[in-house]
Amino acid sequence: MNKTVGAKEGLGAGVIGIGLMMLFLPGASQNIADLDFVASEPFSILLGAVYVLGVIIILAGLGVIFGNFDSEE
């Protein structure tokens, strides 16, 4: 059992982490909007969060394109 992991698996794990965040965002947006001191609507909170996560997913895609995985052992 000497399995090793590298940059490719790390990238996959990071994208899974972002996916987990996205799964929790709709419920969290509603909970945040329900807070007393928050004036934003759930839709706008979700919209902003999805835009930012979209940028990070694009960065992950660039990591896949430009990453040097072939020469890993």
């Binding site: 790390g10 794990a13 982490g17 987990l20 929790f24 020469s71």
Partner: protein, 225 residues
């Protein structure tokens, strides 16, 4: 090709990853809980993120950041979930900055922490302003109020307070992470491009970094009061 091989992350046994990722997330959560309990003027929820991003790679650090804030959103309310993005950005900057060799000298490592602080603030300020209206109940709200009273607009006030807190936080987190990395098994850290220190300097270097971070934190407290 040789230089490319140097900048590429080495392969790491899966057992280390399985052990380090949950421990790093737990370290972040404990740090955030200590901060909440003691009402400290810093965040302390990115030490594990820094350790993982530097040792395992930027995207493993991003996973730790995401796990940290998702778990925190169950423990302390939904406010922390949008800030998961800040944790992810910190992981990417620490991870890629280290991988590209920006942190291999003392000055470089210090500047890398400052770059992390700046980019985390740039990411956090829109969340503060557009979602929470500029305040979340953190110590930095006091500074934001002080800057607003000086006549600054909301975005400038939130950025000014957040960058001060973030600078102290990321310098402390970066050097505590450096101390933790020094204590990890040698076969896990032998390929890392970090400031080289021998003997007593291995302790002195993180301590000096933490002292600088605390000094920045005291400046923030002085500004707030």
């Amino acid at each position: 090709m040789a230089s490319k091989a140097k900048t590429r992350a080495a392969r790491i046994p899966l057992t280390y990853v399985v052990a380090l990722v949950p421990v790093a997330a737990a370290l972040n959560i404990v740090g955030g809980t200590i901060r909440s309990a003691l009402q400290l003027p810093i965040f302390l929820d990115m030490i594990g993120t820094a350790v993982t991003a530097i040792v395992l790679g930027p995207w493993w650090g991003a996973l730790v950041g995401a796990i940290t804030n998702i778990v925190n959103s169950f423990l302390s309310g939904p406010i922390s979930l949008p800030f998961a993005v800040v944790n992810v950005v910190g992981a990417l900057v620490w991870g890629y900055g280290h991988r590209w060799g920006w942190g291999k000298t003392n000055v470089g490592f210090f500047l890398l922490n400052i770059l992390v602080a700046f980019l985390c603030s740039v990411t956090a300020v829109p969340i503060y302003v557009f979602i929470f209206g500029g305040a979340t109940g953190h110590f930095s709200d006091v500074m934001t109020a002080a800057f607003l009273a000086m006549g600054q607009n909301l975005i400038v006030s939130v950025f000014s307070s957040n960058i001060l807190v973030s600078l102290a936080d990321k310098i402390i987190s970066g050097y505590v992470a450096l101390a933790i990395i020094e204590a990890l098994p040698a076969n896990l850290t032998q390929n890392l491009m970090l400031p080289k220190a021998e003997g007593l300097n291995r302790i002195i270097l993180p301590v000096v970094g933490v002292v600088i971070g605390v000094a920045v934190m005291l400046i923030a407290i002085a500004v707030a009061s």
